[in-house]
Amino acid sequence: MKRLIIILCAGLTVVWLFSCKSKESQGYVAPDAPLFVKLDSSVTGVGFSNTVADGQEYNILSYRNFYNGGGVALGDINNDGLADIFLTANQGESKLYLNKGSFKFEDITAASGIKSKRGWRTGVTMADVNGDGWLDIYVCNSGDIKGDNKENELYINQHNNKFKEEAKAYGLNDIGFTTHASFFDYDLDGDLDCYILNNSFVDVRKFDLEEVRKVRDTLGGHKLMRNDNGHFTDVSEQTGIAGTKIAYGLGVSVSDVNGDMYPDIYVSNDFYEKDYLYINQRNGTFKDELPERMGHISSSSMGADVADLNNDGYMDIVTTDMLPEDETRVKTLTRFEQYHLENMKYRASFHYQFPQNSLQWNQGDGHFSETAFMSGIAATDWSWGALSFDFDNDGYKDVFISNGVYKDISDMDFAEFLADKKNVESIVTKNGKFDFRNFLAYIPSFKLPNYAYVNQRNFTFLNKAYELGLGEPSFSNGVAYADLDNDGDMDLVVNNINAPCFVYRNEADKKAGNHFLKIGFTGKGLNPFGTGAWVNLYSNNEKQVLQNIPVRSFQSCVDNKLIFGLGKNNKIDSLEVIWPDLTRQVMYNVPADKEIRLDQKNADRKFIPGKVSPALFTDKTATLLTNAVVHKENRYSDFDGERLIPYMLSTQGPKLAIADVNKDGLQDIFVGAAAGDTAKLLIQTKKGFIKTVQPVFNADKDMEDAGAVFFDVDKDGDQDLLVVCGGYQYDQGSSLLSARLYINDGNGKFTKGRMPDVATNASCVKIADYDKDGYPDVFIGGRAITGKYGLPGRSFLLHNIKGQLKDETPEILKSPGMVTDAVWTDINKDTYPDLMLVGDWMAVTYFINNKGIITSAKSIPNSAGLWNCISAADIDKDGDIDFVLGNWGQNSRFKASVEKPMEMYVNDFDKNESIESLITYYWPDSRSHLYNSKEDITSQLPYLKKKILQYKDYAGKSINDIIGNDLLSKSFRLSIQTLSSSVLVNEGNNNFKLLALPAMCQASPVFTVILNDFDKDGNLDILTGGNLFDLKPDIGRLDANASSLLQGDGKGSFKWMPSLQSGLQLKGQLRDAALITVNNKQYVLIARNNDAILFLDFK
């Protein structure tokens, strides 16, 4: 009878019906002759498997890191020239395997004296802690097992394949939930210090906005331990290491990121705590400078690696997270934060964090640009180790990412519909004893292939895991590389949960035909393995760098020998090694394809930080303005009303207008304002800029300025001003959207002029005398209709009749789309200016001016994008006008192409008199799906809950499945084919060709461009400005490229100039830029949203 009750109880029924999903990898067939060959334990003798079983008392419910898995350490423990293997098991026995050569290994765990059985084993590190020339082994322990001792263990090498545990004597018997530890010389005193990476004792039940993170936890916090003659002392507090109570450390990566050769530390933290980027202050202390140096980071950062991935000589950083690639898994497993929460967390100094892997490109001075989406490595599911090394020795480092979680514990259907803990508990208690394990069977479990990204050398990577032989589905955690067979390429060992570990032999030596150089180190004194040594290799006009820091990826440690891949080139021009004590040695003509040993005693020079040659642009704002001129954005959230739109339209300002308003021969500046602030007019004098008071501007301060232009409307010889409104907070028809004309009295004092009532949420205002009557006419671009994203904005053409503007908008120009920018230019060479428009979800469209009458509209085929701006110039010197256009860029989930367009359907889908906009794009399954989360869709369209109550009802569906063909066919539909900022090359005869601008310029939306010959080589260059912060957290934050300089070759091609060289290391959201002459010298004037304007000098 009891069973009947249960079955008839609604809500609980599902517990019993929910089928146990577990897909095994039996279908996996290895590819033919891959680069990496998996060797069976019958060959290698490495039969290790990390077996983890949930117990009644101790399981994923009682210990949050139950499925985090074990680590791998590779290193030569007996100095026989062969790297040996240590693997940690969480619950079982960790193993030490001695390398006998030819991929034969011997399990010497029992004889070695290593009895690692404490607590819950996690990370492992091989380092010569006592500096005797023999590698010691540090095993980290964690786990919340009652009554168990989780002190970390230090196994000191006894030089005979035997070890003795001496953690306590060294002061390294830390009792925190240790994930890992890295040994390196932070204070440059010659011995190895230690960073102990702990995972907080605090439950992850909630995050605290204010207080908790300030509390230092001397037991469970992160620690920096200084080596004081063989005893390690906790110096965290005095060295500036946070040691906070809420640091959920999962990765520690040491390297120099800012060019001073002092080791910096990147710490990746799980959960809500942000990561740390500790910059070594060169005085024995560190400072976490992450917020100033990185725009955004992974939210649940797991493992990390530091390596130079583009061979520019600077260390880049990869962190892993949990975002799945597969649409179904994203929609059933990933919970994106709400927008208001993102801002609250930022204000509480948790920085900007998003569920995605991060790829932080070092700009050269330790400031970073994050491009994981653009680079193709953002989504690798529940990931652990990131490991960068050159798979095939072609000279470019690739990235291996291990992933898989034994149970999909973040499954949202499980959380919301199945895992009602109290319910289940109370029901089961009635039946007998509650055992969580019975319940666990209902959590789905999927093995996942690891990812192996091959470097495409253009800031992008391609996953070739399967082709490379690295794609066998598994639950993989720790991973490390070493040249196990001394053939000059890196072999790979991966620690798996509940399956034998993977041992992969790299056959690059046979299959890739590339050259290499292998390097071992002999360091001085207490650092005999030269930990921290940095090597620069120059060959074939390219530079490569590697650093000997064995602790990498996740809970793992690589061999202390380095391998440079040289590709087809076997000539090394020079090799420079910089030792931890900042001595260095340079060698020339080093032979390839062999192992060399670098010895610190040969280091005969001192390292001196390189001098950076002066950049093309320098910021002169402070010298030109006594007080900063700041745009102040009003706080308004577009998402509160329209929760399905991906980005806000209310942060489009400020826009600039430049003219000499008081006829003194000096250019003056108008800076538009957001709602609630007063627009500014800066008058240039010989002594600098003076802010003027214009009562008419103040009277209009509730309006948000979206565009502005100076022109002489009444032909009285001075510059009048027309300002158009936007802001996306006022409804269509509101008088706060009315364009304003300000008449100049000739001395730069403005009064309100007469205007027809043109109220529209505008984007731009452009002037041309289109009918050649001698009076300049006006085009006003309509950006959108507030609250109805997707529907075309209302645009206007104002005819200037002897100084009076009159609305004479032809029908075809009233609603061309969501216009963002326009340019008047004579396309058909009939001397009458034609009008070219770009817009959001719009094709590039031009309107032919037939002797003063705007007639036909033409769209350039396959040119629809999320365009923000357009500028015209003859970039290829062929005598006609070309264009440069700013688009959304490639650094987000959104993708669009002719074959796989991004689409939007606009309709009142739930018939409640408000418009919804539904956006789809093609996901990696090559099918088009909505971008939105289930929560957002069903909260905006509650009627859909009937169809999609559970997450699995939503995942995998097309928009047709969800909305229905009937309703879709009645919807307003838009489609776009390109997201790349591009040049539009005029090939004559009304033929245009869109060509994407260089890769790094696609890392952010471009909102403004200036075409000018900045480098004075006779060819036009492009300066871009952009970034867009106010996106749905599902989309992230586009902050990677505020500004770029693209050098033109005069033939239509452009090359990105690294930002250290260009000097364009700007921050913020650039919205407008213009050239301005101050004191007879040209500057670039830049306007940023919610930030100060800038003046940039250029050489």
Binding site: G11, R64, M322, R335, H340, L341, I409, A415, G641, K945
Partner: protein
């Protein structure tokens, strides 16, 4: 109580299993309604509705059932006729035979189908309920009843679709403000305000959402002698000295429909019936204990549901009009940064207490129907939290429910009394309008 449930289930099983036999006995009509009611609560729990949204479901479904079943007793007047915004209701055809319990079930489930999401589960409930009648009624009587129930449901849906619910879905999110004394999102999940526009839902009895305005709450004051400081201090002092009894009371009445708990990356939601669901359960107890007829049971549900519906409109209008701060915000700031309330703070403004208001109105109505000294064992939450408590009267239960929010650390005492006052006034208005 468990036995009642078992009996019904047994009945369903037995009858459902023998549907081929002729001339079955009809089940007890009141039991059918109670069973329908419980099914609905289970559905609401599973589908996750906010308390105000749940009250809307209870109101329309139980009014539909009452409107159908009232024809079984010629003395029973229509309630809907006395409520605002409904179209004219259909009358049964005098020449046709009906079973009004079946008609009521059909009306109930048809309305529910438009308001809830788990259509398969609902269909299962429905089929099981109708199966009881299939063998016992002639085909003609069966289909007459089903059709009649369906027509009523359609009329109810007309009112439902114009009560502003849909419109309020498209309005802006609500985050309160950082101003002193104003509501702002609270730990642990810092969610935006739930149902900020519920005051715009068209009421059934009240002439407007703010007919019973409790007046403004005490002003912000940091002074330790001020009323504001003292009432925060009270919540804190009670919170850190909670007795087991007080904790039990807080949890017994929590009825928070959805609490997400985090264990690392693992999340588990705890779902409970809403406060409205709890009082619909108490209504069931009153009916069963007095062996109320089906018609009276339907009236009990309808009046209780109307009391809840009106209560939520009134209190959510009040909440967002004053947008008053929650204790956790002030206490963490001024008294103890580490203090956590015994219950998770619900994501909407504090003033006044929703529990106090809606139990005030529901208890007033139930007292009118079942008397001042109706003692009962409240077992309605057994299935969700495995707890039960005994009460001497509905009023006592409602007072305990009210004070549970103070023990829970999520309300000030002031909000309890003022909320309860409003609730009682709403109850009186309902009695005056519908029971006289």
């Amino acid at each position: 109580m468990k036995n009642y449930a078992l009996n019904i289930i047994m009945l369903i099983i037995v009858l459902g299993g023998c549907k081929n036999q002729e001339k079955l006995q009809l089940p007890n009509a009141a039991d059918i309604l109670h069973n329908n009611q419980r099914n609905l609560t289970d559905l609401i729990v599973y589908d996750i509705f906010s308390p105000p949204a749940a009250s809307r479901i209870y109101a329309y479904t139980s009014l539909a059932a009452h409107e159908a079943i009232r024809h079984a007793d010629t003395a029973e007047a229509s309630l809907i006729l006395k409520l605002k915004g409904f179209p004219k209701m259909p009358e049964p055809d005098k020449n046709k035979k009906y079973n009004f319990t079946l008609a009521a079930s059909k009306a109930f489930y048809s309305v529910a189908a438009n308001l809830t999401f788990s259509k398969d589960t609902l269909l299962k409930y429905e089929t099981a309920a109708y199966a009881l009648f299939k063998g016992a009624l002639s085909d003609q009587e069966y289909s007459n009843s089903i059709n009649f129930g369906d027509t009523i449901a359609k009329k109810i849906l007309e009112r439902m679709s114009s009560d502003n619910y849909k419109k309020t879905r498209a309005l802006e999110k609500y985050y309160g403000s950082k101003e002193d004394c104003k509501w702002q999102p609270t730990a642990p999940d810092y969610l935006d305000g739930v149902e900020p526009y519920w005051g715009q839902i068209k009421s059934l009895v009240m002439d407007s959402a703010n007919q019973f305005d409790p007046g403004p709450p005490p002003p912000f004051n940091k002074n330790k002698e001020s009323e504001f400081y003292k009432m925060n201090r009270e919540v804190y002092d009670i919170g850190i000295n909670l007795t087991q009894e007080q904790k039990d009371i807080a949890h017994f009445w929590d009825d928070n429909p959805f609490v997400m708990e985090h264990t690392g990356h693992m999340m588990m939601a705890t779902k409970k019936q809403t406060p409205g669901g709890h009082w619909m359960g108490i209504a069931t107890i009153a009916c069963r204990q007095t062996k109320a007829s089906a018609v009276k049971a339907a009236r009990t549900y309808a009046l209780t549901a109307v009391a809840l519906f009106e209560g939520f409109i009134c209190v959510f209008d009040t909440k967002y009009r004053y947008s008053y701060v929650r204790p956790i915000t002030i206490i963490n700031q001024w008294i103890d940064p580490k203090w956590e309330p015994c219950l998770q703070t619900p994501p909407f403004p504090e003033y006044t207490s929703g529990h106090s208001t809606i139990t005030g109105s529901a208890a007033t109505v139930l007292t009118k129907m079942y008397g001042d000294h109706f003692t009962f064992q409240d077992t309605s939450d057994m299935r969700y939290i495995n707890m039960q408590r005994h009460f001497q009267s509905f009023l006592q239960a409602s007072e305990e429910c009210s004070v549970s929010r103070l023990y829970g650390g999520i309300h000030y005492r002031q909000s309890l009394t003022r909320g309860a006052d409003c609730g009682k006034k709403i109850g009186a208005l309902i009695i005056n309008q519908l029971l006289k």
